[in-house]
């Protein structure tokens, strides 16, 4: 019998808002899906699209990226820069054939513990429905495969 599919999800979050929001969710004893591994960064401005690619390269089924609401950035405008980058990167992934549902973006503040828990739960459910990211797993599998000719 095969085990039920549990998606592996990587979250890149900024330390000032979303990570604090996650903290709040924790201290408020909110339950949320355990499928997400959080990676904390100083600011969404630091979340390079390379990180998202790296997460996929290492076998993530979904990636989520989250930071301070516009106007709330600790560094005043890191999240505005990030927003533009995501906009473009998202379009690129879509054109290349990586379903946009696999990479999600959100603003979650330090006060939004509930939103954090709900966001994690809904993303996990969405990815679970999508199933394993088989196409990418195929690419990863190719790196292990013996030469074909």
């Amino acid at each position: 019998m095969s085990e039920p599919f549990e998606p592996k999800i990587i979250a890149f979050v900024c330390t000032y808002c979303t990570y604090a929001g996650a903290d709040l969710a924790g201290t408020s004893r909110l339950k949320y899906a355990p499928n997400v591994r959080i990676i904390r960064l100083p600011c969404t401005g630091r979340i390079s699209p390379m990180f998202i690619l790296k997460a996929l390269q290492k076998g993530a089924d979904g990636v989520l990226v989250s930071g301070c609401h516009p106007g709330d950035c600790h560094f005043t405008h890191g999240n505005y820069h990030a927003r533009r980058r995501w906009m473009v990167f998202r379009a690129l992934l879509d054109f290349i054939g990586i379903p946009p549902e696999r990479v999600k973006y959100s603003w979650i503040s330090a006060a939004e513990g509930v939103k954090f828990a709900e966001f994690i739960n809904s993303v996990t459910e969405d990815i679970r429905k999508l199933g394993p990211f088989e196409q990418y797993s195929q690419l990863i599998g190719d790196t292990q495969a013996p030469a074909s000719l």
Binding site: Y80, V88, L92, I96
Partner: protein, 276 residues
Amino acid sequence: MSIEQQYQARAKELLSGGAVKMVIGYGKGTTGNRRRPIFISSPDDVGRLVLDDSCIINLSGYLVSEGLLSDEKRVAVFLRPEGIRAINILAAESQLDADQIVIFGFDVNDNELRALKGIHVEEFADVIGSIRENNPGFADKELLEKIEKMTAQERFAFWQEEFAKCIKCYACRQACPMCYCRRCIVDSNQPQWVNTSSHSLGNFEWNIVRAFHLSGRCVECGNCDRACPVNIPLRLINHKMAVEVLGAFDHVAGMSKTQEPVLASFKKDDSETFIL
């Protein structure tokens, strides 16, 4: 006098007067319709310059060769409108001083060669502006539409087949005037962001990274497309990204030498419909 002769004469004048130290132009190639980049430093050699509708390569990338402009002397270069836009971007990204560049502008419309008037990049604002108006006529609209109609899965399969051909020769990168980094991200190994191997994952990642780094910067000169020895439709991805950037940020790359790079600037009211 043909445009070729006019430009030869102008090159001779600039070189003999010392106004420029070098003219980067086109010379005869191996076969009848091939043109190769040539570098003229002596007024006696201007006869080697060729200008016709086979002059396609965007020569602007040579301007950022290590040390070329560091003596603050001027360099002249043959450029099509895309090449002129490339100068704007290079100047906007502080890679060169646009005042050092003397432009021999030309364009080909309906197989007819015409000279573009002007010397420095800002004098070509009209020509470049018109590109913005009649969004560059991209050859393979058909293929683009076909891809856009595909499902995500089909698109993934389409690009995987194309990228599978990639041999990681980096001709696309080396031919691109916008890829001027002294050390490309794929050449960094601590950490190793992208697999250097040219297996399907490594190729896929490399092509995503390349396209992303050119988003909002590509002038669609087609150097990458022509350089690719395995015929991956690279320009198509760049074009698609240009369309996206135009739609999202009303930005066309290379409009002026003071234009802010699209991904190094922002507006507070940028669209964010996709953010939850």
